[in-house]
């Protein structure tokens, strides 16, 4: 029933480019990479802002922190499947259409930014307060502290958070198949599930697993490369 590798590799369904698993892989990767680029660009400042405004002396800033935190929590509590449907009016207003990878990426970014921002905030919290205070005592401005202490000291953790978010986004892209985003998720659903091509489900699952393992591997390597802290056994 499973068949030989030879049979799998010569199955016309699987080796065909157009509408096949290789094209779908590329679409999935495209959505993931662009979403993650936007997520880092938007989520990192948001995470730093959440961290910096948490115990501000100004009541106005604290209020702003609470409101932002609330919005972040609301967005995070949406199941992605519901969020992507709820966002259809917004995505069609921005991209001109409610389906396809570009429309999906807006929903993906809106889901990933609050997720990543909370993780980034946690990474920043792990920096010992004494290190930040030491640099403030050297006469550093707030911006210098962010750039020279917060980001570089938290970098190993931040990279770990980016890895975790990337893997969550890969999972979300599969769900984005419901708005015809394309990619591996939709392929598995349309051709594998509704089209009864079981081989297609197996191939997409294997490809997704491979992508996730690879992302985790690269993330771990990068994180370790920038981590100069003492390793405790």
């Amino acid at each position: 029933m499973i068949g030989t590798l030879q049979e799998w590799l010569s199955n016309p369904l699987l080796v065909r480019w157009e509408g096949g698993p290789w094209e779908a892989t590329l679409v999935t990767l495209y959505m993931t990479v662009v979403t993650m680029a936007l997520t880092v660009v938007l989520g990192l400042p948001l995470g730093v802002a959440l961290y910096e405004t948490d115990d501000s002396a100004s009541p106005l800033v604290r209020k702003l922190n609470q409101v932002t935190g609330f919005v972040v929590n609301v967005l995070r509590s949406f199941p992605f499947f519901i969020l992507i449907i709820a966002l259809i009016p917004i995505t069609s207003a921005i991209t001109g259409r409610s389906t396809g990878p570009n429309a999906a990426m807006i929903a993906l970014t809106i889901a990933a930014v609050p997720f990543a921002a909370r993780l980034f905030e946690l990474n920043l919290r792990e920096i010992p307060a004494g290190k930040i205070e030491a640099v403030r005592m050297m006469g550093a401005s707030r911006w210098q502290v962010i750039r020279q202490v917060l980001i570089p000291e938290a970098l190993p953790g931040l990279i770990g958070s980016i890895t975790t978010t990337t893997i969550a986004v890969i999972g979300y892209t599969a769900m984005a198949g419901s708005v015809n985003a394309g990619g591996l998720g939709q392929l598995a659903y349309n051709r594998g599930y509704t089209g009864y091509q079981t081989e297609m489900i197996v191939v997409t699952v294997v490809l997704l697993i491979a992508i996730v393992i690879l992302v985790q591997l690269i993330g771990d390597r990068l994180s370790r490369a920038v981590d100069h802290r003492a390793r405790t056994a």
Partner: protein
């Protein structure tokens, strides 16, 4: 160099109860070019004092003057500029793990906007000054506790501050590393003429490097002065902590007396005390004691057992006369009652 004038800091209680008075009317003047020790138990107000000196905390009332500027009155960019006048050394060094030793040392210069070439030259000087040659490209995780604190000190000195403020600089280090670091601090004062303030709870640190010592208790100064004067004043609260009397052996068949000397013209060493006992026909034996030489002057807190020639405790009259003569010469002498 540093003048505190009526410095008070009151924190509102977290639960809305009575406010907490961390510092209560501190008046203190610290001379330039000397090593000043500030001692006190935890909760005495040492940390608040440091935070006020660096402007991280605004005093409730009073002035904090460092090198002629009132730090408490500054804000924003002026405060950041004033902070560069004070180098700070911390208990756990607080180095950044993401920077090498050299990059950590260069950090204050980077913040001050010193050009790269100048930075590198200054870092090279500092690395040599604190004895870290060959280690400059190591990350803190690759250095020992003593080396980390050397980086911390070099970083504190990088921007050529007038004052080096050390907050428990040796409390996390072992005995021999502590001596090395204190030796380095004393050496820097000698070579750079910098004013050093060491906040500590370790009396050994004070004995080893400080020129003056100030005792902080419950937010107020209870004693302050030159180390020798403070150590030799047996009535002061610090003397017993600086020169502690070790526990005496028990069950001695003799009269035992405590003698604290140090500011007496006549009695400069324990031998002088023992010689005096002989004039009262007594043999004095040293049974316990701590003797320190501070600034070329001996300060001691000793316990002597007195017996007559036949090995019996000496007479009451002889004892009273002996103690009176010591007291008259400025030695605090009391009989130990079993």
């Amino acid at each position: 160099m540093i003048t505190l004038d009526g410095l008070s800091k009151v924190f509102p209680a977290p639960g809305g109860g009575d406010p907490v008075v961390a510092l209560d009317g501190i008046d203190l003047h610290l001379e330039p070019g000397r090593v000043h020790g500030i001692v006190g138990r935890s909760g005495a107000g040492k940390s608040t004092l440091i935070r006020c000196l660096t402007g991280l905390e605004k005093p409730s009332t009073g002035r904090v003057e460092v090198d002629g500027t009132d730090v408490a009155a500054l804000d924003g960019a002026a405060l950041r500029a004033a902070r560069r006048n004070i180098g700070m050394v911390f208990q756990h060094a607080n180095l950044l793990d993401s920077r090498t030793a050299a990059q950590n040392i260069a950090h204050p210069l980077e913040i001050a906007g010193v050009p790269r070439a100048q930075r590198q030259q200054r870092v090279a000087e500092l690395v040599e000054l604190v004895g870290l040659t060959g280690r400059e490209d190591n990350y803190p995780a690759q250095l020992s506790g003593g080396q980390i604190q050397r980086v911390g000190i070099a970083r504190g000195l990088a921007a050529e501050p007038k004052v080096l403020l050390c907050d428990e600089p040796t409390s996390a280090l072992d005995g021999s590393t502590t001596r090395q670091i204190l030796g380095l601090i004393a050496d820097l004062r000698e070579r750079l003429g910098i004013t050093v303030v060491i906040i500590t709870h370790e009396m050994g640190v004070v004995r080893e490097v400080c020129d003056t010592v100030t005792l902080l208790q419950d937010g107020t100064i209870t004693q302050s002065g030159d180390l020798l004067d403070v150590a030799a004043d047996p009535h002061g609260p610090l003397s017993a902590e600086l020169i502690p009397l070790p526990p005496a052996p028990t069950g001695i068949e003799a009269l035992v007396v405590n003698c604290d000397y140090g500011n007496s013209e006549r009695f400069r060493t324990t031998d002088d005390l023992i010689r005096l006992a002989e004039t009262y026909e007594a043999e004095a034996t040293l049974v316990a004691g701590t003797i320190e030489t501070i600034g070329g002057c001996q300060v001691g807190r000793v316990q002597l057992a007195l017996r007559n020639r036949s090995g019996q405790p000496i007479s009451r009259e002889g004892l009273t006369a002996f103690l009176t003569e010591l007291e008259a010469a400025g030695v605090v002498a009391t009989e130990v009652t079993a």
